[in-house]
């Protein structure tokens, strides 16, 4: 069961957004396999502080896999080796004594490094403000049970809505595309009856904002592999279809 192991970490250190970064090697000794990956980094940081060195900057908040704040490239994989698991939920029991672990920030030009392992993901918020909502002013909503939503539709919309906005899909993609994020956000709303009124406008606006920030999708499928919520790539196909329809419909509406 619980054991203590030694790890060798190769960690990306970068003092600020405009400075060069480099890998630094740290020995993480005597780590319990019951520790989470981030608790292991906490321990390393405590030891660094004791030694008078600045701790490694990495971000996390809920440590329950839901806030989407954490996110590290661990041995080249977004969120590390365990499928369907955010970095904060990864435990040291997934590693072996003597392992060498490379830890990097998300690598994507739209996610500039702020310091060490922390990146700026505001481009994802920009996609949402472009149309990732249903226009309903506070107080104007009808009774919640007025519009029944077939259970299956609701469930599928939920599968998309489960996205935690961590950006692993972008980090994993060879083109740094944000298709899986955008498609999940789109399909959550596009599938529901409440989301129909703005469906075509939303689709066009979000997709085009995405394209302004991110690379384009060439169907590698790495995003689905990396997604801690295992959001299926099918949503991308769906969103693409919606986008083509949107282009036609929006032209008609404009005409």
């Amino acid at each position: 069961m619980s054991a203590r192991i030694n790890l060798t970490l190769k960690v990306w250190r970068q003092a600020g957004p405009d400075t060069e970064g480099a890998f630094v090697v740290y020995e993480a000794t005597d780590i319990s396999t019951d520790a989470s990956f981030l608790e292991m980094l906490d321990i390393v940081n405590e030891r660094l502080i004791d030694a008078g060195e600045e701790p490694i900057v990495f971000e996390s908040d809920c440590r329950e896999g839901i806030c989407g704040t954490c996110g590290l490239m661990i041995n080249g994989r977004a969120h590390g080796p365990q499928k369907g698991t955010a970095t904060c939920q990864l435990h040291i029991r997934s590693f072996n004594d003597g392992d060498h672990i490379t830890i990097e920030p998300w690598r994507a030009s739209s996610f500039p490094v702020l310091r060490d392992l922390a990146v700026d993901r505001r481009a994802l918020d920009a996609i949402i403000s472009a149309g990732g909502y249903i226009t309903v002013n506070t107080g104007s909503a009808p009774d919640a049970n007025l519009i029944p939503v077939p259970k299956e539709t609701a469930e599928t919309a939920f599968d998309a809505a489960a996205c935690i906005g961590c950006g692993a899909c972008v980090a994993a993609c060879p083109n740094s595309a944000a298709q899986l994020f955008t498609a999940a956000k789109l399909q959550h709303l596009n599938l529901l009856p409440q989301g129909q009124a703005e469906r075509w406008e939303r689709t066009e606006a979000m997709v085009e904002t995405m394209e302004a920030f991110f690379g384009s999708c060439t169907n590698h499928g790495e995003c689905e592999e990396a997604c801690p919520k295992e959001i299926p790539i099918d949503f991308i196909a769906w969103a693409n279809r919606d986008y083509i329809k949107a282009k036609v419909k929006n032209r008609k509406l404009a005409g």
């Binding site: 619980s2 981030l38 906490d42 704040t69 939920q89 435990h91 918020d125 990732g132 989301g195």
Partner: protein
Amino acid sequence: MIGSLDARIPAGSLENKWTDHKFSMRLVNPNNKRRFDIIVVGSGLAGASAAASLGELGYRVKVLTYHDSPRRAHSIAAQGGINGAKNYQNDGDSVFRLFYDTIKGGDYRSREANVYRLAEVSVDIIDQATAQGVPFAREYGGLLDNRSFGGAQVSRTFYARGQTGQQLLLGAYSALMRQVAAGTVELHTRSEMLELVMHDGRAVGVITRDLISGEVQAHSAHAVVLATGGYGNVYFLSTNAKMCNVTAAWRAHRKGALFANPCYTQIHPTCIPASDDFQSKLTLMSESLRNDGRIWVPQTHDDGRGPDEIPDDDRDYFLERKYPAFGNLVPRDVASRNAKAVVDEGRGVGPLCNGVYLDFSDAIGRDGADVIRAKYGNLFDMYERITGENPYQVPMRIYPATHYTMGGLWVDYELMSNVAGLFVLGEANFSDHGANRLGASALMQGLADGYFVLPYTIGNYLADYLGEAALNPNEPVFKDAKQQVTDEVARWLSIGGTHSVDYYHRELGKLVWDYIGMSRNQTGLEKALSEIAALGEEYHRNVRVLGSADTLNQSLEKAGRVADLFELAELMARDALTREESCGGHFREEHQTEEGEALRDDEQFAHVAAWEWQGAGTASTRHREELAFENVELTQRSYK
């Protein structure tokens, strides 16, 4: 000086107070709304819903959050659900029943008028969220499903798998981002509020530090809204997100805002027990699990057998035994204290004997594993990821952990603190839950405050300042406040002590948990007062904060937050010591019934204690707001 505290509760019958008051409050016409600047600190359910609604109304809103995106606020982590008195299940629910359950659940230490309003607008929240596309669970006919939660005998909890907070926050966040696009809301992420700025006795702005560049900035407005969450991280280990802290509220407190009932903290019964001392936080298993899981420990002390080897006769389903009417669904404080009692007796389970079982084998036998998976799949997965054990096969182990803080900044009926122009929403205020919060009611309260209360009440305040510009942020009050923040930052970096901020935070947490935790007594609280002060003194002398002020520096961020937690912890101890009764989450060992239940003293303590800051090292002054109960009868809570 503050006289007797007046909550400005409107006259009239309970049922009509809010409707009548909405009519009597002054309005700001749409053209004039554009001339008012409002700062909203916080982008959780309370802050995001408030900012979006104010933006829709046409106010000029500025949202400040230390998160990198508004969507990451701690609200995202709420699992179980949100209450709404819809009575869709036709099981006898009503606004009055939700009101009654909340007052009773809060052990008669909350304000009737506020709680009634909360229950009243709860139904609108469900409508609003559904219209935004929040994917609440549905039945086969396509209508909304409900579950029951602790402290209630009706099914009024709406839920979205185990991710209700996430989905509700995404709804509020999407509404917020719509306003950002519309230009009514200006969003500042990674901005931490470190000072409240006052002028002529009114709140006129805040000072922030940009967490990336370190720049200290002044923000001026006609009103300031704090929606900055709770202070559960004073215990270090809690179910709160790691960054949760009390700084925004505390800095306002130091500027004169009263802090009410700090000793009312909630311990959640169903968390995964700690496994070692590197533990960085505790994970909650939603209390909805208590609908189907049965809680038990072995009958005898130090029973060495595995759970599957212990026959039914040798098990003690202690909640079902003691509380036949509510069984495993008793309120949180009752469930938590009973778990502590059996563990203290030496009947705890797991490698460190620090838990009780939460067993699904009967439910799986009855409904099948698929039904259980559909209801709780993601919680089961989460449990397995953390512990390495499969709860479909082995009972979960759970133990109470700090989860929620009922105390907070004092606010009146309009959610304004005693400082004019300073409004406080969500978990940051003390308002609606009395001494104990019912499950699924925090999400409800945050959204009620933000969507349906503040947008009305803030106009009533602003109406007085029509035609007055917000203060120039170059005024001396702002400059002085900026200087204060800059000096504070420099001070942390200059100490050069020997221990990290986290080290002191952990040590503080142990003291608070031991002495101001699930059960409290005079000796312990007095000890807490002196030990916290001593440790705090050492902290200021010996903490080590490396690096510089003009970069992303996480130790520096934490240094100020932990300093505020130290001061808060002392106030908690003082508040707990003065409240010579047991109520809700505040259990004083000296005050209990023969059966070990909380014993209130309504004669002496049916009031809110609101503390006034008197400066570091000086005892705070205790003010009272008397609570009048006109619609419910004060009884001893009984869940038998």
